[in-house]
Structures are given as structure tokens and as C-alpha cells.
């Protein structure tokens, strides 16, 4: 097993996904080891609670395993693919919760969700990229950053954000568009995660 794990460790994510498709749990374990931290970080940022973040990540990874997903490398990196599943799981969780409608911008829960503080940054090689994205977000005008963070990390719809901020829904959409346009220019992104 040790030898198998060592040799699997040398494989690229895309090749590991071929083995995952064949039901190889050791390959799935390596995928989890490579992306579990980032997945958890995203989930924690969105949920603001360790328990809920862990539930989301567990749910997302198990759905990937159970579905026998065949990764399509033409559609982007394995990391992007996993994170999109985690993101959608978190949003599903938010939208199922009956208490969801009672959240307001100033609520402690939301504040915690949007400003989780632990900065471990275990994956040193990704710090530059993460810093660049954070910097680009930080450089946005506050009103544009706010709607992007509330929707992407907070999981709120533009209608909910409009209610929270007492703005017309069209204004919220406009700020999202302006903000993403500026981010696109700042990051020069083609949409691939490192």
C-alpha cells in the first residue's frame, strides 16, 4: 500500500481521476489530500462554522465518489471542478435552511461567515496566487466587492442582497458586473486555478 501510495502521489490530478473513475480509493485519498484544505477553506469562508463547513466538504467529496464522476480535463482543472461542487453544496445548504431569511448584513453569523480569520496558508506555493486574488478583490470599490462577496461567499441571491443593502436589484447586478469586469482585468484571468 505504501509503495502504491508513493507511486500514485507522482500522478497528476487528471491521471488520478482516471483511477478514481475505476473505483480506486487510494487515488481518491490523494485527491482529497491535495484539495481537501482548499475545499474546506472555501466552505468555511462560506459557512463560517467548522461543523457546517465539514459537513459541506464531506457531502461534496462523497457525492464525487458515489457518482463515479468521470473528470473531463477539457473543462478545466480538477481543483476548479471540485471547488465548484463544494461551492454549490454550500449554497444548497444555505438555501435549504429555514432560518436563512432572517440573516441580515449586520448579523454576527453573517459577519463571521464573511470574515473568518484563521490564516494558516498551509500551501505555501499557492500564496502568491491567493494574495493576488485577494489583492484584486481588496482593490475593488467597496460597493462592488461587497455584492461579489455576499453572492459568491455568502450564497445570497441578488434579490436578497438588494433587500439587505436597500438597493434596487438592478443596481446590485450592475455592481456585480462592474466588479467582475475589474477583477478580470486585474487578474488577466483565463479561468484556470493554479
Amino acid at each position: 500500500m505504501f509503495t502504491l501510495s508513493r507511486s500514485l502521489n507522482r500522478l497528476a490530478d487528471e491521471d488520478l481521476m482516471e483511477l478514481v473513475r475505476e473505483g480506486e480509493s487510494s487515488a481518491f485519498e490523494i485527491i482529497f489530500d491535495r484539495h481537501g484544505d482548499t475545499a474546506y477553506s472555501l466552505a468555511y469562508r462560506m459557512c463560517g462554522s467548522r461543523v457546517r463547513a465539514e459537513d459541506v466538504v464531506q457531502d461534496a467529496f462523497l457525492s464525487l465518489w458515489r457518482s463515479g464522476a468521470r473528470y473531463d480535463r477539457t473543462r478545466g482543472s480538477v481543483r476548479s471542478w471540485i471547488l465548484s461542487v463544494v461551492h454549490n453544496r454550500a449554497i444548497d445548504t444555505f438555501r435549504r435552511e429555514a432560518t436563512r431569511g432572517s440573516l441580515q448584513v449586520g448579523d454576527e453569523g453573517l459577519a463571521e461567515r464573511l470574515s473568518s480569520g484563521e490564516l494558516i496558508d498551509a500551501e505555501v506555493e499557492r500564496r502568491d496566487d491567493a494574495g493576488r486574488v485577494r489583492g484584486a478583490l481588496r482593490d475593488l470599490p467597496v460597493d462592488q466587492r461587497e455584492v461579489i462577496e455576499l453572492s459568491y461567499f455568502g450564497g445570497f441571491t441578488h434579490v436578497e442582497i438588494a433587500e439587505m443593502l436597500s438597493l434596487p436589484p438592478g443596481t446590485v447586478k450592475g455592481r456585480m458586473r462592474l466588479g467582475l469586469s475589474k477583477l478580470r482585468i486585474a487578474l488577466g484571468t483565463e479561468g484556470s486555478l493554479p
Binding site: R21, G23, S25, F28, E29, F32, D37, T38, A39, S41, E54, V57, F61, L62, W65, R66, S67, G68, A69, R70, Y71, D72, R75, G76, S77, W81, S84, V85, V86, N88, D92, R95, S116, G117, E118, L119, I120, D121, A122, R126, D129, A130, V133, S151, Y152, F153, G155, T157, H158, G170, V172, K173, M176, R177, L180, L183, R184, G191, S192, L193
Partner: protein, 232 residues
Amino acid sequence: MTERDQMPGSHDCGGDAAAYVLGALEGQELEAFRTHLERCAVCRDEVDAFGGVVNVLPIAAPQQRASRGLRRRVMREVRKEPRRAARPGRAGWSLSALGGRAWAAGGAALSVVAAAVVVGLTLGGGGGATVFPARVEGIAGTAQLRLTNGHAELVVHHLTPPGRRRVYEVWLQRGSAAPVPASVLFGVNATGDADVGLPTNLHGVSAVLITSEPLGGTKVPTHKPVIVARLD
């Protein structure tokens, strides 16, 4: 949403693309934008461009380490549930619709067909297979549910793809109880085909339902089934 926004053909091109890729549209507005995307190259380009930005947003989250307990729980479940490997040489079932950049696939517009297609029934087919009828509703394609030597599989052909950032999810219904997730998600290949393994224990299951759901699936159906295979 304003009245004007809801009117076909009066869509503000590009105006909803950012909200769409951020996941901030829902309900009728989301459906309307998806329909609009099918015929609007401007919005498709905008969605592709913004999708690239949204792809990198996750790394802006402060990095934290997942607990060893989480890793242990995930891997314990994984080892408890050995998965039937995809069989080579078949039409191939794929979760390509789960791709993280599904919105960046460009030009993969849905072709929604209003007519229902009823699939032919062949009970007690060759090789010991029992084939159950599957009704396809609201989209194009055909489907069959086959039981062979204790293995259940759903075979679909020429099925309309589930759409951007969406996936088909399988549900099991027992009598009049609410459908429960079968923990099976699937997409279709370029020709709309898929061969999907189902849980082998269909005891008491009266119908297998398929709905289109957001990537990652959901725990309760959020849309009307597009495929219904009755076993009773």
C-alpha cells in the same frame, strides 16, 4: 425582477451574466436567463469571461487546514462504499457536466423540446434483462431502466444535456413517500448518451425519477422529473 425583464426578447444583454456566474440568480429569473443564453452570443461570451474570474475566487478564501477527523470520515465512507467501475467500451456515462467551468464550455446551449417522448417497453428482454418503460418529459431523448442479474442501470440516448452548471440526479420513490436521493448524479456525452449504474437494492421502489439539479446535486428534488421509470 421587473415586468420588462420577464418579457421574452427584452432581456438586457450582459446585464445578468455576472449575477448568473456568481450563482445569484434563482427561480424564474434563472430559467429565463438560461433560455436567453441559448440564443444570445453576447451573453454567452460574457458568461465565459466572468466564469474565468469566478473560478479563481475560491483561493481568495483564507487558507485553513481540513481536520484529520474530516479526512478520516470521508475516507471511511469511501472505503465502505466501493464503487462499481465504469465499464469501458460502453456508450459511457459521464459527469462532465460537473466540470468546474461548465459555464465556460461555450455554445453548449440547451435545446428544450416540449413534446414528451415515451420509450417502448420490452419486458423480459434478452440476456435475462428486464426492461422497464421510462417516460421522458419536457426534453429530448429516450430512456430505459434495465435490471440484469441484480444490476440496475438507466440507459439514455440522445438526451438533452442538463445545462450549464447542472447535472441529472437520480431519485427513488417508494409508494407515495417523498423521493429520496439515490446518490447518483450523471451527465451525458456529446451525443446525449449515458449508461448509469443504480443502487442494486430497489426493493420496494415504485419509481425511479430523474431531475435536473445544480452541480453537486441536492437532497430534495427542486424540479419536476424529466425521466420517470415506473417499476410497479
